[in-house]
């Protein structure tokens, strides 16, 4: 940031037009309340919340990929599945699945490196199908290894004998920690220099490139973080299901996982941190309401996602933000015009000096 000239001293730059103090306190209160849930509600509801937190983690990662880095991956189920296996394999050798969650996160990130090298030069549609092919390939390779269950899967050892209520509560806490860390990581990543780089790429890739922005490195970082997050979610899934089932229909490598995370993001709002949270809530409500009708929830979600993609591109949260200018997790900047105060109507764009934007 360059030093401000005297006449610019009136201009103030903040992260948001509104104070984030109250929303920060609010977010903290919500997290604390969520942590206390196992003392108040039953195992059945907790189990559903665990599924919701897994989807929330996945959606947050998909949003980082598609919403901020323009990487529409249809192969995130590869990292979800790898994460599940990175919990299973150490558990078969006596390492507790809780510690396995760290291995899942790191392992998925490491696997992302060679896979990125294969698809790095592809854009949009071709990137989407290529990641899908890679996910299918990862599944086929994993299914060849008979010592970890081959094509049929393997139950998760290491947690047998635990009181079911305690296990559910512990799983819930693990899922909650993973989800909060996922959102926190994405939030701080976007507020860092990388966030600025990603915004520059999104606005004009060629201009960013010619200004010396390392486009490839920023995308690689996003791809690895997203893989790590999906790996952690896959680890939680293995613990929640007490086993790992491969395969494309109903297993960890099913493209339905990517469909669920993508639909949640699109409905909630692509390119906003709040979007995946809203989208996950919509997703869980729909899934629980329609659960007696097999896969109909996914069909309804798909239809809603298509309608929103066409008629309200910024999703539910984006539409709210447009109207009321609220942001719980501000990652951009707001430039205060001379004399502009909180609560007043936004000054027209031409009244705002543009050189600092």
């Amino acid at each position: 940031m360059t030093t401000l000239r005297p006449e610019d001293q009136l201009v103030k730059v903040t992260r948001s037009r509104r104070s984030t103090l109250w929303t920060s306190i609010g977010a903290l209160v919500v997290v604390v309340v969520l942590f206390l849930f196992p003392y108040a509600i039953g195992s059945g509801t907790l189990g559903i919340l665990v599924q919701g937190l897994i989807i929330l983690t996945l959606a947050t990662m998909w949003n980082l990929l598609a919403g901020y880095a323009g990487l529409v991956s249809v192969g995130q189920q590869a990292f979800l599945g790898l994460g599940a296996y990175f919990v299973l394999i150490p558990a078969m050798h006596g390492i507790t699945p809780w510690a396995g969650l760290f291995i899942a996160t790191a392992g998925a990130a490491v696997c992302a490196l060679p896979l990125w090298w294969l698809v790095a030069r592809l854009r949009l549609g071709y990137f989407a199908i290529a990641t899908w092919v890679l996910a299918s390939m990862v599944m086929l390779i994993v299914e060849q290894i008979s010592s970890i269950g081959g094509g049929t899967g393997e139950p998760l050892p290491g947690l047998t004998g635990m009181d079911p209520a305690v296990l559910t509560a512990d799983t819930y806490w693990a899922a909650l920690v993973v989800a909060v860390l996922a959102i926190g990581t994405v939030y701080s990543l976007l507020r860092s220099r990388t966030g600025l780089v990603l915004t520059a790429i999104r606005d004009d890739e060629r201009a960013a490139r010619s200004s010396g922005v390392r486009v490839g490195r920023a995308r690689l970082l996003v791809f690895i973080v997203a893989a790590a997050g999906c790996g952690a979610a896959g680890g939680v899934l293995a613990i929640e299901q007490l086993g790992v089932t491969p395969g494309t229909s109903g297993g960890v490598f099913s493209v339905q996982w990517t469909a669920e995370m993508a639909f949640a993001v699109i409905i909630g709002g692509l390119g906003t941190i709040e979007g995946p949270i809203i989208g996950t809530i919509v997703f869980m409500v729909l899934q629980q309401t329609l659960q007696s009708y097999n896969a109909w929830y996914l069909i309804v979600l798909g239809i809603v996602a298509i309608i929103i993609a066409i008629f309200a591109r910024r999703g539910l949260w984006g539409t709210l933000d447009e109207r009321f200018n609220i942001r719980l997790f501000p990652v951009g900047y707001h430039l205060w015009a001379p004399g502009e105060r909180r609560g007043r109507k936004r000054v027209p764009a031409d009244a705002v000096p543009t050189d600092a934007a």
């Binding site: 549609g125 199908i129 290529a130 092919v133 299918s136 390779i141 060849q144 493209v255 896969a295 996602a305």
Partner: protein, 291 residues
């Protein structure tokens, strides 16, 4: 001899893969649209074929033109409504819409037709008929027929794009949408025609797949879309004859893989796909002949 047999079978199955791939390649060449619902639409065509045969009791070969016409109409309508709306809003929206469509179709088919697989023309004598070359090589008439059909379809497409009125319009719109629009060609209508043709090839692909093996709701994404994409990339983006080259290379790779170990069939195909992606990303046929 077993290896020669594997390679011959691979080449022949490559014709089917070329049929999978040419619709995908055409839509990308003309509209820059990567249709993620491509495979599921082929499965839909297969199920329409099942329905047409069940209602009219016509032979499976006669059902092909009927399904092609039906799918072409569906393609035109879908392009003019949903896909056009998505294209106007950008590539990201197009991807989201076609991906959504893919998931809706796959799960919808599962709801209506269950996950069971269905064959087309089961019991017809030509499905199982074959002839022998020497003592160890047996070639099914159906595989040979589909390969010839693929060549005829590609040849027809090339002739159509090169010489017909709409073919020229399609190429003009693919080259420069604005300029074609200024010259009086309504690009939306031309996109619709291109989609109708692409969906027609998808219909042929779906029925052929149903005759060669069986169709099931998950086949569209597990097999058809991914194989089509592999064939397009191996052959070269936007090249019509490249899809045949890509399909044949993919088919041979899979056949050789299966010869080593039956569970390596699909993996061997993907391995060649990745090799081409890394070593020769422009594909084996770098200069396209059409679209």
């Amino acid at each position: 001899m077993a290896w020669v047999n594997a390679i011959i079978q691979g080449v022949l199955i490559g014709g089917l893969y070329a049929l999978f791939a040419c619709g995908l390649s055409l839509l990308f060449g003309v509209m820059k649209v990567v249709n993620l619902a491509h495979g599921d639409l082929a499965v839909v065509a297969g199920y329409i074929g099942v329905g047409v045969i069940a209602i009219s009791h016509m032979p499976v070969l006669w059902s092909i033109p009927v399904v092609v016409v039906l799918m072409a109409i569906i393609g035109y309508i879908l392009q003019r409504s949903l896909l056009q709306a998505a294209i106007t809003r950008g590539e990201l929206t197009t991807l989201i819409v076609t991906f959504g469509l893919s998931i809706i179709i796959e799960n919808g088919l599962q709801q209506f037709f269950t996950a069971n697989s269905r064959g087309l023309g089961v019991g017809d004598s030509f499905i199982t008929a074959s002839f022998s070359l020497g003592s160890q090589i047996t070639i099914a008439w159906l595989s040979l027929g589909i390969f010839v059909l693929a060549v005829v379809v590609l040849l027809g497409l090339q002739q159509y794009l090169s010489f017909s009125k709409y073919g020229r319009l399609i190429r003009a719109v693919a080259d420069d949408r604005e300029a074609a629009q200024l010259s009086g060609a309504d690009y939306r209508h031309v996109f619709g025609i291109a989609a109708a043709i692409a969906f027609g090839t998808v219909a042929i692909a779906g029925i052929c797949e149903g005759m060669v093996t069986t169709i099931s709701p998950t086949l569209g994404t597990d097999t058809i879309l991914l194989f089509a994409f592999c064939a397009v990339v191996i052959g070269g983006l936007g090249s019509l004859w490249g899809t045949l080259v890509g399909g044949v290379v993919l088919g041979v790779a899979q056949a050789i893989g299966a010869q080593i170990n039956p569970s390596y069939e699909t993996l061997a195909g993907y391995a060649v796909f990745l090799l081409v992606l890394v070593v020769r990303p422009q594909g084996l046929v770098s200069q396209g002949t059409a679209s």
